[in-house]
């Protein structure tokens, strides 16, 4: 059955239309959760507001468990679902640069779109920065093309690397997330906060 577009149950144009609807859901939930506010987002790094941690990990485990159950019920063929490739060098260095961008700019690309959509000028400027950053990457591409493509390790899943089943890894991730939620609730009690 699923994924619908890969199995050609829906046409390419329907897929694009559904992408638009999925985007509306994505933007609506992010904004409703407070992800259009940079001060709320940055709170996760200081403990005064851990909404990022709670929403991010609840979403990740919901989708992860959903996919595993869908696969179990035969509703989706997991081998047809895109798994991000692993390139060691760029996965780590790209993540480090993005982490710096996060604490300096207060947004990530998706949340900056939400902020800009409700009139945050700082979010709009961040979006301008995104264009510039991508343009710089494109213009200088020959300089870092080798590094970008270095350390390719295929499309492994974490459970394959650890030698355990997907279900066991999912259970461990859920337990880890619950521990982090507990730390997050504790931090919000400990550090003063105001609603932005």
């Amino acid at each position: 059955m699923g994924p619908l577009s890969v199995n050609e149950i829906i046409s390419s144009n329907t897929n694009f239309f559904l992408a638009f609807l999925i985007g509306i859901g994505f933007g609506f939930v992010l904004e409703s959760s407070g992800f259009s506010s940079s001060r709320k987002l940055a709170g996760v790094f200081y403990g005064y507001d851990t909404v990022v941690l709670k929403v991010f990990f609840t979403a990740a485990i919901t989708a992860m468990l959903g996919l595993l159950f869908f696969s179990l019920f035969g509703w989706v063929d997991l081998s047809l679902v895109y798994v991000n490739p692993t390139f060691w060098h760029s996965a780590i260095s790209g993540g480090v640069i993005m982490g710096a961008g996060f604490i300096i700019g207060g947004f990530c690309p998706g949340t900056s779109v939400c902020g800009a959509a409700i009139g945050k000028i700082d979010a709009l400027v961040f979006v301008g920065g995104l264009f510039l950053g991508i343009f710089i990457f494109g213009e200088g591409y020959p300089l870092w093309e080798d590094f970008y493509k270095a350390g390719f390790a295929g499309f492994p899943k974490l459970n394959e690397v650890l030698g355990i089943s997907q279900g066991i890894l999912a259970l461990l991730i859920v337990l880890m997330a619950l521990a982090m939620f507990w730390v997050g609730e504790w931090a919000e009690q400990k550090f003063p906060r105001e609603e932005y």
Partner: protein, 171 residues
């Protein structure tokens, strides 16, 4: 209407997870954001300097991968939806307002300079890391991708490592 009332974060997380699950079930892929900006940059360069876009590898490869047009991509449609969805949510909650949000300890100008610098870094990093917080970290984690989980750890780890140096901007 009561302002600044946000959704319970755990409920928000479950809803976001269901949106992500729908993307995987319908389209066999996760959510994203930076990929749409890449399409817009490639499309702009191709419009302004087509000869350059046809020569430089970064643009050439992307144009080649999208024979029907760079902007006809799943993520472009999805990000257009994000703009609409966020606007609806902001409108319903009474949060539509032009403003520069910043800590009372810093000026608007300083906030905007840092927002620009952060955007440049995030834009560059998202290309190097093959996706941002949405496409690589969140969507990658949902399918248990090793690379996605490594990138997520690098993003949040660096954020915590640098938090002390930029604390004045936020607290």
């Amino acid at each position: 209407m009561k302002q600044n009332k946000y959704l319970n974060p755990y409920l928000g997380g479950v809803l976001l997870g269901l949106v992500l699950l729908s993307a995987n079930f319908i389209s066999g892929r996760g959510l994203g954001a930076s990929g749409a900006f890449k399409s817009m940059v490639v499309s702009s360069v191709n419009m302004v300097a087509p000869a350059h876009a046809g020569n430089a590898t970064f643009y050439k490869e992307n144009i080649h991968e999208h024979p029907e047009g760079v902007m006809k991509s799943w993520l472009v449609f999805q990000v257009l939806g994000v703009v609409v969805g966020a606007f609806i949510s902001g409108a319903l909650a009474g949060r539509l307002k032009f403003k520069v949000e910043h800590s009372p300890k810093i000026t608007s100008k300083r906030r905007l300079i840092f927002a620009l610098a952060g955007g440049v870094l995030f834009g560059f990093g998202s290309q190097l890391g093959r996706g941002c917080t949405s496409g690589s970290a969140l969507s990658g984690m949902a399918v248990l991708s090793l690379g996605g989980i490594v990138t997520m750890a690098a993003i949040f780890g660096t954020g915590y490592a640098l938090a002390y140096f930029f604390r004045k901007n936020w607290i």
